[in-house]
């Protein structure tokens, strides 16, 4: 009789109750399906312990490991750690009627917003299906008319100096004669008279992008710092300050000054090799940052000097920068504070007017312009902003480089390009388009174990990267992660040399802005014009 009672009960509930119940019932359905092979599973509960999203649990009564698909974010931590390889994560198959316009993703976002009333948040760079211009640019190689170079046996120069280069240099030439064994000999000494502006010396044209303490864990920062030190390159603190134990990597550290001014004091400015004013970021141009309160632990509260558990608010603008003149003021304020001894970088997002903006930044006194493109990553950004604002870095690099050349000020600042660099070929193309070096963020995180689940904003990163939970943080061994980063930089550097050698180029200096060695394939005429490259098939 139980069943009939329940039927009776249902029929007697008021309309309001049903409405309430309907409101409670989520219309969302899982993104992923987790399958556990019962033949392989040994019930060790590793997956249960590994998942911070609580997708797995052990059901005592049934004596069984259970999985709640709706909680799975496909970070693949469990599948990787399962000792018997029993777990497979696949896309959840739900037959939403196929519709190119109203895709499953669109529907889910609508459900989510109608259930919460909230702004959609996400992490990492945009996953939207925009054309990737890198994949439509082809590199040249030497054949017959000029020799290629074998980088394994011949010297190849990747060393890069970032900073302002003087308009002209003056030498003092001093010749002196002296007697050799049976003839007069002459020596000539050249002495540089011009005082060179401060430079950052990189062994390879790659730097680790700004990722803040708070967004990423201390272990992740340790790994980045160590790897930068070992590779002779730089990592960037982002805007969350610098824990004291990392001061020893100061000579490989770029520190950021952002609108929230977190962790900025004179020690912080003193210890760094360079200072970067963060105006914008590719993943969220035009908006500030909210480090979610979940990630503001005691340690984060200390470096950022805000109460624990509050959201760390970085205002959208720097309220002391409303113009290029104001930017210049902050640049010089920092230069004064650091005795003009460090290069000053200004980081902006690649937006429509980027060429003019970059020109303004250089004229304001920056030594480096860092430009972050449409695909730049983030620890947390509103989905709509991340997926719809900005322009691809490929177009931005050439637009900026061309503009600075036209204005005769290209030497006054170096360009660092950022935003979705996936491999060494992207780096070579960026440099040939006109960048001096590139920032890599996502690629570095992937090297350390990130699986791009895009849930960084939850603070529950199962790979110990984008989290402050001590239990999760210790999953990332900084030694091992640093090793993996060093391997990555090494591998890319070898590949860059290989590609350059093939082109018959033996120094990265000769690759820089060498757009003649690039060809566009399947690109629109306007894109070719902005990139200032020829279509494939057209000769020199």
């Amino acid at each position: 009789m139980e069943s009939s009672a329940s039927v009776l009960c249902k029929s007697s509930v008021s309309v309001q109750c049903i409405r309430k119940a309907n409101m409670k019932k989520s219309l969302l359905f899982p993104d992923f399906t987790v399958t556990r092979d019962p033949d392989k599973c040994i019930q060790c509960e590793v997956c249960v312990r590994q998942c911070a999203f609580d997708a797995h649990s052990f059901d005592k009564e049934a004596n069984k490991i259970e999985t709640d698909n709706s909680k799975c974010v496909s970070c693949l931590r469990c599948a990787t750690m399962c000792p018997t390889g029993a777990i497979t994560v696949s896309e959840h198959q739900q037959n939403i009627k196929k519709n190119k316009n109203w895709t499953e993703k669109q529907l889910k976002e609508l459900y989510k917003q109608s259930e919460t009333g909230g702004i959609l948040l996400t992490g990492m760079g945009t996953d939207k299906d925009y054309k990737i211009i890198w994949d439509h640019i082809l590199l040249d190689a030497a054949q017959v008319t000029n020799p290629s170079i074998d980088p394994l046996r011949e010297p190849m120069e990747l060393r890069t100096y970032l900073g302002a280069k003087p308009d002209r240099i003056e030498f003092r030439v001093q010749s002196s004669e002296f007697r050799g064994q049976n003839k007069k000999l002459r020596t000539t000494n050249y002495e540089l008279q011009t005082k060179l502006p401060p430079q950052l010396k990189l062994e390879t044209p790659i730097l680790f992008s700004a990722m803040s303490y708070g967004a990423i864990s201390l272990n992740t920062m340790r790994a980045l710092a160590r790897a930068a030190d070992e590779c002779g390159i730089f990592y960037n603190t982002g805007e969350g300050g610098l824990p004291k134990e990392l001061y020893k990597y100061g000579k490989n550290t770029i520190v950021q000054v952002a609108s929230g001014r977190f962790g900025v004091d004179s020690d912080y400015l003193d210890v760094a090799a360079a200072v970067e004013i963060k105006v914008g970021q590719g993943a969220k141009p035009g908006i500030g940052g909210h480090l979610p309160g979940e990630k503001v632990t005691e340690e984060i509260s200390q470096t950022r000097m805000i109460p624990t558990g509050t959201d760390a608010l970085s205002p959208a603008p720097h309220h002391d920068i409303y113009s290029i003149e104001d930017l210049s003021q902050l640049i010089y304020s920092i230069k004064e504070a650091t005795g003009y001894k460090k290069p000053l970088s200004v980081k902006v997002a690649a937006v429509h007017n980027i060429a003019a903006i970059a020109s303004g930044i250089v004229r304001a006194g920056a030594d480096i312009v860092a430009i972050d493109g449409l695909r730049g990553g983030t620890g947390a950004a509103p989905t709509r902003i991340r997926d719809n604002v900005g322009i691809p870095i490929e177009l931005a690099i050439s637009a900026v480089d061309s503009r600075l050349r036209e204005e005769g000020i290209r030497n006054r600042a170096s360009i660092i390009a950022a935003g979705g660099f996936r491999n060494s070929a992207d780096v070579v193309k960026a440099i040939a388009l006109g960048a001096d070096a590139v920032y890599i963020g996502t690629a570095a995180l992937v090297a350390m174990g990130c699986h791009l689940c895009q849930k960084c904003y939850t603070g529950k990163c199962n790979w110990g990267i984008a989290t402050q939970d001590p239990y999760l943080v210790k999953r990332l061994n900084p030694e091992i992660a640093a090793r993996r980063l060093v391997n990555l930089i090494k591998a890319w550097s070898h590949e860059i040399k290989e590609i350059m050698g093939g082109m018959g180029i033996n120094a990265v200096e000769s690759l820089r802005g060498n757009r003649l060695r690039l060809r566009g394939f399947d690109l629109h005429e306007n894109e070719l014009k902005i990139l200032d490259i020829k279509p494939a098939g057209e000769s020199m």
Binding site: D265, L269, M305, I306, P307, L313, D320
Partner: protein, 242 residues
């Protein structure tokens, strides 16, 4: 030591200050200051600097330790991201006073412009204090995350503050001598009960403020103070869908 600042660029002037500090001088007077920016920017020293004239933008930015007295006015961005030390201005200052300030004290005898005390923050014993004798414009104490700001409004002919007081505030305390209307407050703040400990705190800083400017403490202390705190720790915590 006296430095005549006339016709000196900010770079030259700061070089002179720095080399004086390096040689162990701990009292410096800057005469004829005429809008030079970045004075004592990033200076980390125990030194007393007296400025005669008008100090330019970014006075004492990133500074850690010095005590600066300005006998005149100062322009925008005084005490930008200042870490420790003291700045006393015997006049008025421009906009964004104490942006991101992390410690130390700033006393302004007269008025401050827009966004005074924006995003000042604190941690344990590092508690920045700003006392403003006159009035302020809109967005006073915006994004405030910690520290103490006291606003006195001594010139009663003017409205003590503009609108949007404490917009985005999520920490720290604001004390305003007298009353402000509810419409002047940002959405994230509210008036809270005044406690005995508040009295002691105000007394301490008021006494120091008054002695800096030779003001009669008893006259100022007669009026009641309004105390403002952030309504929430996470003013924007609920606008996102997780």
């Amino acid at each position: 030591m006296i430095i005549n600042s006339q016709n000196l660029t900010h770079k030259k002037l700061n070089e002179k200050i720095r080399s004086a500090v390096k040689s162990g001088i701990n009292r410096i007077e800057l005469k004829n200051v005429n809008g030079q920016r970045y004075i004592a920017s990033g200076l980390k020293a125990d030194v007393n600097i007296k400025i005669y004239g008008t100090a330019g933008n970014d006075l004492g930015s990133f500074m850690s330790g010095p005590e600066i007295n300005v006998f005149g006015n100062a322009q925008d961005c005084v005490a930008n991201t200042m870490d420790a030390g003291k700045i006393v201005v015997h006049g008025s200052v421009g906009d964004i006073l104490g942006y991101g300030m992390r410690g130390g004290k700033v006393f302004i005898k007269d008025d401050a412009g827009y966004r005074a005390g924006i995003h000042i923050k604190s941690y344990k014993e590092m508690v920045p204090v700003i006392v403003i004798g006159g009035s302020v414009h809109d967005f006073f104490a915006e994004y405030m995350a910690g520290g103490i700001i006291i606003l006195l409004g001594l010139d009663r002919n003017k409205k003590i503050a503009g609108n949007f007081i404490g917009t985005g505030m999520h920490g720290g305390t604001i004390y305003i001598r007298g009353k402000v209307e509810t419409y002047q407050l940002g959405k994230e703040v509210s008036t809270v009960k005044f406690e005995e400990t508040d009295n002691e705190l105000i007394k301490k800083y008021l006494a120091e403020f008054c002695s800096s400017f030779n003001l009669d403490y008893r006259k100022i202390a007669t009026q009641k103070f309004t105390k403002l705190k952030a309504l929430h720790h996470r003013p924007y915590g609920t606008i996102y869908a997780y």
